[in-house]
């Protein structure tokens, strides 16, 4: 049974920074996403468009309509951020299911002996990546709240001296903003990491000729989609709550 590590392993060091296997994989995914984006942009202005363009465009329109049902007329201001969240998380989750991710090993010199660590690791199975996404999400919620209601209008939700009940509610609101970061980060990390552990363990508890991993692979495809949906939908719901006037 392979060694399961809860944190991403360093592959090499560049100028003192540890290059982990998850960051290597996220750079590869970023390049693929960039190629898709450039091809989409090129097709959007061309006179005869390819089938790829229509496929991608259809899914983008579906995502837009989904967020329109939450954000209504504010959708155009936030779709760039929330759509990017959705597409980024979805691609990272699905790329992490490709064969070779987690199973290609590479030898790394550590002290005297050589450790064998996976060359690739799904980016969302690394807590640092999901924590970064969560911080971006929560900071953009605060910034959009300030942009829509003004600094004093927004801060009134947290610091309110009008009566004792509102003051206590304000403290609870401050705590809930911080717990949003934790819950965003752990939800995504937990789901994706648990999926990887599950598939690894299932592959080893049945004989090799039974493809028992396959149904779980389909489940993980579904979980990856749902988690991308949940992350971006929750961000849009929180943005909608932050930008509308409190009663």
């Amino acid at each position: 049974m392979p060694e399961i590590s809860i944190k991403a392993e360093a592959i090499t060091h560049i100028f003192g920074f540890a290059v982990t296997n998850s960051i290597l994989f996220s750079i590869i995914t970023l390049c693929i996403l960039a190629i898709i984006g450039i091809a989409y942009k090129k097709n959007a202005t061309a006179s005869n468009k390819s089938g790829f363009f229509y496929l991608f465009h259809l899914s983008l329109v579906q995502i837009y309509n989904l967020f329109y049902s939450v954000l209504q007329e504010k959708t155009n201001n936030f779709f760039a951020l929330i759509g990017a969240f959705f597409i980024w998380i979805l691609f990272q989750n699905w790329m992490g299911l490709l064969p070779g991710v987690g199973s290609l090993l590479i030898g790394v010199q550590e002290g005297k002996h050589i450790l064998h660590v996976p060359l690739f690791r799904g980016n969302n199975a690394d807590l640092n990546a999901t924590l970064a996404l969560a911080i971006i999400s929560v900071v953009s919620i605060q910034v959009s709240g300030i942009a829509y209601l003004g600094f004093f209008g927004y801060i009134k939700k947290f610091v309110n001296f009008s009566n004792p009940i509102n003051f206590v509610v304000g403290i609870l609101e401050i705590v809930s903003e911080f717990s949003k970061i934790l819950s965003f980060a752990f939800r995504l990390f937990g789901n994706i990491f648990a999926g990887e552990v599950l598939m690894t363990i299932i592959a080893f508890i049945v004989p090799w000729f039974i493809p028992a991993t396959f149904p779980f692979l389909l489940l993980e495809l579904f979980v990856g989609l749902i988690q991308a949906l949940v992350f971006s939908l929750l961000t849009s719901v929180f943005i909608n709550m932050a930008t509308s006037k409190s009663h």
Partner: protein
């Protein structure tokens, strides 16, 4: 009882007990959503969005238990 055995029991208990509450919660959310759908079939998309959000919140609790048990197991 050795330390290793205590660790294994702790792992199983953490996820086993932690999954009870979210399981009940998700079941209730699903049943209520189906009920609402039966009463008002036109509101399917709104119900689906609210249901997925509520399930995500309930599921997060189970995921915390899972993360705790994974940390106990692998550290």
């Amino acid at each position: 009882m050795t330390g290793e055995a205590a660790k294994l029991i702790a792992t199983a208990l953490a996820i086993g007990i932690g999954a009870i509450g979210p399981g009940i919660g998700i079941g209730m959310i699903g049943s209520k959503a189906a009920e609402a759908l039966g009463r008002n079939p036109e509101a399917e998309s709104a119900i689906r969005t609210a249901m997925i959000l509520a399930i995500a919140f309930a599921e997060a609790v189970a995921i915390y238990a899972l993360v705790v048990s994974l940390i106990i197991k692998f550290t």
